[in-house]
Each structure stands twice: as structure tokens, then as C-alpha cells.
Amino acid sequence: MKTVVPARSAWSSVIPEGGTLTITDLHGNQAVDFLVYDAHDTAVRYSAPDTVQAQGGIFLTTGSVLMSNEHTPLMTVTADDVGRHDTVGGACSKESNTLRYGHHTWSQHACVDNFLAEGAKYGLGKRDLVSNINWYMNVPIEQDGTLGIVDGISAPGLALTLRADRDVLVLVSNCPQINNPCNGFDPTPVEMTIGADA
């Protein structure tokens, strides 16, 4: 099953254990903000820190296991054309945008709003939003700790595939940010493909 998620839009799905989700960066350099929950107990959800500590590093690629806040596997990256994805930067929000760029950005779209709207369909609220994955987003950390979202390393048509290690609920915000290079200042559509058992 293929679905094109338009620029700036949200998307969600339940992926059964063993099923796969392929995310294709149709036009290149498009940040895909991503949260994942245990479909049967959404208090168990993606944990950036558990994922980072479990794999001993901050970048995600083939073989990375997305860990829950109870340190249990939720999904595993089984294929990746890009090589690294972000665990640190979290989502853009209207509120944090006022700090990062200025109050003139308040009326622009932001990922947290997408997550809130899409999550509400499943009874999820603001307390259920935690630091998320940014597929295709490039956030290096310098030796002095300086970090920032810089030009992406993705390209049109590149894809990654995740296998569900249990029944999971996935929330996606196809990032609408236009103030940093996470999507080349030009949000574009991405494609979601749900596959059968891997």
C-alpha cells in the first residue's frame, strides 16, 4: 500500500508486528519527523535517549533499533539509502520557532501541530509528544558541542525501510519548516509504503 504524504501534511498508520514501512524521499532533502508507539499501550513510546544509549551513538541507519522508553524494541531499520538520520533535533514548533528565528514565524506551519492533530485521532495529547526522529535530516555535533541542522545528504528517490518489532502506531509530520535547510527551505511530498511481513 503506497500513500503520498503531501508537503507539510501529517500521516499515521498502525503497522503490525513483522510488517514494514518504507519512507521514500521523493524530491530529496525532506525532513520526515517521526514518532512511534506500542499500538496496544501508547505509554510505551519511542525514546531518543534509550535509542542513543542502546546503540552507542546519535545517528540512525541500517541496523539501528528504535527503542522505547522501557528499553524495548519498537522498530528496526532494515534498509537505508542515506546513511544517517537525526535523533537529537526534535520537532519544530510554533513556540520554539519564535526562539530560533523570531516571532514573525509564529503563523507558519510546524511539526508539533501536525503531531497534535494526527495524534488526537488515537487519543494522544501533548504529554504524549517526546523527542522524535527526523529521517533525512542532517544534524552534526562539533567537538565543542555546537550542533545545528545543516544541508541534507539525501537525494530524490532515496528510501529507508523499517520493520515493526511489535504492533506499532506511527505518527509522521512531513516537516513544513522553511527557515532551515532540513528540507532545502522548500517542503516536498514523501511516500509511505506499507509492506507485508519482512
Binding site: P49, H71, R127, S131
Partner: protein
């Protein structure tokens, strides 16, 4: 002392009054034997045992000093806007907005609402972490054999659940935490380099910029490679002080921070709080 009667049991219990333990809150805090010089009356004075936790509500403009007494404390910390727990520490915003993954003096601890919850006003450690969070029941059971709160190797998340529950919060209210006194550095390839602590006596002082609920778990850092569960006492002292105000160098230190302070000030003003 005989405890076979109610009177005896009562006498036995009351005879414990005044007992001092190494790890305990001192109440009133003003009875703390060695207060820091030059600060106002203490409002919180406690030594938190290794593998234990504490929690408190602090008014805006309180300074909170954490001290790693013996070199193997690790203070895992969460902050919530008091009474409004849907506004809480956002570690991702804290590092992204300030363009730096490492904590230290003059860094702000940002909420997810574009506001400041607390600022770091002093730091003699420099070994802190925003990336690895705290330990879990599953991880500690795998690593140490147990991670339950009553075990010899309690997990930070299990202790946070208890501290949260005592403030009307549940596990859904526990976002990624940060930790002080046990550091991690990121190598160029993105892998973690655990630095350990700066040694005994290091301290970090936070200043609350809103009324906040503070949850602290003192447990080993999850990236600590030592096979044993090593966790030593954490000293917690707090006193009334002043929040950061316009004109303070920290207020204008960065454009992002200035906007965070402005957002906070306007929020407080609109509620009639400042």
C-alpha cells in the same frame, strides 16, 4: 526498649527523634549545618542517597545547587511548570535552540513552549549529558540483575515514575531527562564517549525562572561502563534568590535566549505573576 504494648511501641518510635543519617532531608532546611556563604535562608537541604530520588516544588527565583559529594553521583533531572505539567523540559529544544548539545554555565533549560524553566548559573563540573536519558527497569535488570526501586540497583525511570506519581503525574508525563555530573561527548562519527565525572565536590547551580516541579533521580548514568552499580550521595541545597531580569548579562547573552526570557516574562505578566 519494650515494644509489646502500644505505649512501648510509641516510646520506641519517638526515641528516634533527632537521629541523623547520611542521606536525609534536614527539616527545617535552616538547620543545615554548613550553609553556603552569602545566600539567603535555605528552603531545601537534603542529601539524596545513591539509587534514590527526591522531588520538590520551587518558586520562581530559587537557586538550586546540586553537589556530587564523592564523585559518583549522577543527578537525572526533569522540570515541569508547576501546576501545568503539559509545559515541561524539552531536551531537544534545549540543545537545538541554543545550538549546543552540552550543558554548562549560562545555558537555559527550555520548556516546550518557547520559555525558560531554569537557567544554569554556575557549574564546576562540566560533565553533563542531554542525550542518553536515564536508566530503565529492563536495562538495569539486564546489566545489574534488577532495576526495581527496592532493589540494590534501582532504575532512574522507575524512580521518576514514583516521584511523578507523588505530583499527580504518570509515565506519559515523563519525557527524556537530562543528567548532571556524568558526562558524554560525541565523537565526529556520532558515537558516544563516556567521560565519567569530574570527581568529588563538583557542583552545578540552577536558577528557576518559573515556578517549577523538580524531579531528581540519583542513579548511575546509563552509559557508565562499570559492571557494578556505582552511585554515591548527591547534596541538594536551595535558597530564595532572584530570577533573571532584563539587564542581567544572561538575559541578552544570545538572541534565542533573549526571546525565551521575553516569552517567559510576557507569560508571567499576562497571568499577573510578575
Amino acid at each position: 526498649m519494650a515494644t509489646e504494648t502500644t505505649y512501648g511501641a510509641r516510646d520506641h518510635a519517638r526515641a528516634q527523634d533527632g537521629t541523623r543519617a547520611e542521606a536525609m532531608p534536614v527539616v527545617p532546611a535552616g538547620d543545615w549545618p554548613d550553609p553556603p556563604a552569602g545566600v539567603g535562608p535555605l528552603v531545601w537541604a537534603e542529601t539524596v542517597a545513591g539509587g534514590n530520588y527526591t522531588h520538590r516544588v520551587l518558586a520562581r527565583g530559587t537557586e538550586l545547587r546540586l553537589t556530587d559529594l564523592r564523585g559518583d553521583a549522577c543527578a537525572h533531572l526533569l522540570l515541569y511548570a508547576e501546576g501545568r505539567p503539559w509545559e515541561r523540559l524539552n531536551v531537544a529544544d534545549t540543545v537545538k535552540v541554543q545550538w549546543n548539545a552540552y550543558l554548562g554555565e549560562d545555558r537555559l533549560l527550555l520548556s516546550d513552549q518557547g520559555r525558560v524553566l531554569a537557567s544554569v548559573v554556575a557549574d564546576t563540573s562540566g560533565r553533563h549529558d542531554t542525550l542518553c536519558g536515564t536508566s530503565t527497569l529492563a536495562r538495569n535488570t539486564e546489566r545489574y540483575g534488577d532495576g526495581t526501586p527496592q532493589s540494590p540497583s534501582p532504575a532512574g525511570r522507575e524512580l521518576f515514575k514514583l516521584a511523578a506519581a507523588k505530583n499527580g503525574l504518570d509515565p506519559r508525563d515523563l519525557p527524556p531527562s537530562l543528567s548532571f555530573f556524568q558526562g558524554v561527548r560525541i565523537r565526529e562519527d556520532g558515537t558516544l564517549d563516556f567521560t565519567g565525572s569530574a570527581g568529588p565536590g563538583a557542583s552545578v547551580t540552577l536558577r528557576t525562572e518559573q515556578d517549577v516541579t523538580v524531579l531528581i533521580a540519583n542513579v548511575p548514568h546509563p552509559a557508565d561502563p562499570r559492571p557494578d552499580y556505582v552511585s554515591t550521595p548527591l547534596e541538594v541545597l536551595a535558597w530564595r534568590a532572584e530570577p533573571t531580569r532584563p539587564g542581567d548579562p544572561l538575559w541578552d547573552a544570545t538572541p534565542e535566549g533573549r526571546r525565551a526570557f521575553l516569552n517567559t516574562a510576557e507569560f508571567l505578566a499576562s497571568r499577573g505573576l510578575a
